[in-house]
Symmetry: C2
Subunit: 339 residues, 2 copies
């Protein structure tokens, strides 16, 4: 039998109300009883039942995190950031792996509602109108990370993708590159696809460089930002436009890894024959051979920032907050060579 507040009360000879008071540090008891209660709690190994507490207080001290793939480097790092502040503020986090599925997402929203979470964070989720509606119907604080919704103005935390892509390409141009290819994720992706391409195009234009559509590659497939996709895009580039580009901007670390892998297979040396700059800068960027020069997103910080926002919102009882654009920067390593 688990020990309850009642047991502590009986053992101490006070009422459960008093025990509750000292547990919650509410005051309204002598220093003497406080000590008695505290030591009883200690001796009995009593821990307040959070479920019972949640039922009456309507606060579960739990938040939900939805993400398409927990095992992705990006998501995992952000999750770590979230978990970190949650822990600090004594919150628990429930992970929901939506697996890129809208249906699954809907189910999770339902579950989170039943579980009475105090708020939800959506990481890299593709925000369809349905998903936004579901989240909205929770009537709970919601903060998006690395994504945003066009159907409802949920506050978000992300870098400016277009601007970041622009910076990355400018870096290449600064290094003397003129013929720059791009390996993108699905162009239909309005968050991480199209905007990065726009940044790429814009950078080229702003430097008086012409844009060759056939130098922009992507695959509209399942993991369009994945390793496999990167390798295939590079394959196409090497086949169709040999010697016609001196650098490539990859829209994700994995895409860059795929490109690297393909280049290696074809005997094209990085960065001697070809420069590559990646987007994300997850841990694999520095593990690559050669280490990837990359556009850095502060993943952990993004996660913790968003979690702070969410908990603040919850505390303030509001559903609104100002979105924050996180600054990005370029980490120079060895995959880009000056021409």
């Amino acid at each position: 039998m688990k020990t309850t507040i009642k047991d502590v009360a009986r053992r101490t000879g006070v009422s459960i109300a008093t025990v509750s008071r000292v547990i919650n540090g509410l005051g309204g008891y002598s220093n003497d009883t406080r000590k008695k209660v505290l030591s009883a709690i200690d001796e009995m190994g009593f821990r307040p039942n959070a479920v019972a507490r949640g039922l009456v207080s309507k606060k579960t001290h739990t938040i939900g995190v939805m993400l398409p793939d927990v095992s992705g480097m990006l998501a995992a790092e952000i999750l770590k950031g979230i978990e970190s502040v949650a822990k600090e503020q004594r919150y628990s986090v429930i992970v929901c792996n939506t697996n890129y599925s809208g249906d699954r997402s809907q189910e999770y929203v339902r579950t989170l509602k039943e579980k009475q979470v105090d708020g939800v964070l959506a990481v890299s989720e593709y925000m369809t109108p349905e998903k936004s509606k579901a989240l909205l119907s929770l009537n709970l604080p919601v903060v998006l990370i690395s994504t945003l919704s066009y159907s409802y103005p949920f506050p978000y935390v992300k870098v400016d993708d277009k601007q970041a892509a622009y910076s990355a390409v400018c870096h290449l141009i600064d290094k003397g590159h003129r013929r720059i290819a791009m390996i993108s994720g699905d162009r239909a992706d309005l968050i991480a696809g199209a905007p990065r391409i726009e940044g790429y195009v814009q950078a080229l234009r702003d430097h008086g460089l012409s844009v060759d559509e056939s130098l922009i590659r992507y695959r509209a497939e399942f993991e369009s930002f994945g390793f496999h996709s990167g390798a295939l895009c590079m394959e196409g580039l090497l086949r169709d436009k040999p010697g016609q580009f001196s650098a490539v901007f990859a829209a994700s670390d994995e895409l860059a890894m795929g490109a690297l892998s393909c280049a290696y297979r074809h005997g094209v040396r990085i960065p001697d024959d070809l420069s590559i700059i990646a987007y994300d800068d997850t841990r694999i960027a520095e593990m690559a051979t050669p280490p990837l020069t990359a556009l850095h997103q502060p993943l952990f910080a993004m996660g913790s920032r968003a979690a702070e926002m969410l908990l603040d919102m919850s505390a303030a009882g509001t559903l609104e907050a100002d979105s924050v654009i996180i600054p990005h920067k370029i980490i120079e390593r060895e995959s880009v060579r000056a021409l």
Copy 2:
């Protein structure tokens, strides 16, 4: 105001007991009232409050997962497997990033107790006696993944590290290698450190090969299985024993990546000049240049298997279960060359 079972009852004109019955499909009501209740639930968008349910049923349909680093490739993949079966069986999972800290672990155990989880999974946690004791005191089903406890026989799911290391080294020997170095994680690690070294030594001995202690490298530091450590160990090997080994067995993917990176920096080509076999085979193994031949651990499967065990235990009301040794295998890619 949220709609409760009471609202549904009133709206339908039946008692809350009846509503509860149809929600739980317990039978004991006419088909007619069932339909009425169901449609009312639907119209009102009613969802049973899991917190209230948990309070009375003493089942929260929630499990806790403790791991030293959510953002690690290993853990993340295992977590995904866990989450997958949890979702299937309508369970939620709370992640606890212990950050390699014993204190943090203790705190989490307390939190999980308060939250009344139905069981806990510990992934790659270094099981000190204190941690085991804490977990044990929960009096709840516990299953370990990729680790085991010497202080208490918690059921676990893992591969046989010594045997797996043995296989990996045999693979190298089969390919004609005779001088084989090893880059290990902290030797003081009784789970993933020492056993893999033992497997390495055993394989050498069984093939009549001599064991050169100076060919075994590791660093007793924070992330002893990490990329940085791998690079440093390789550095030492290349410096101290140049040309004296034709292959290296790395005790983790990251260690192998570090070795690869260092080799590249020194102009030693993989696999032409040196072969490398890794342990783990997380997603980065295939992303490496060249792709790493590796000893594969079925991470996702390990996670899901353990979760199944845990939920079965919970359902059966037992704290015991048979541990399972997961079979491993070697994935041949391009980092090992036959001599």
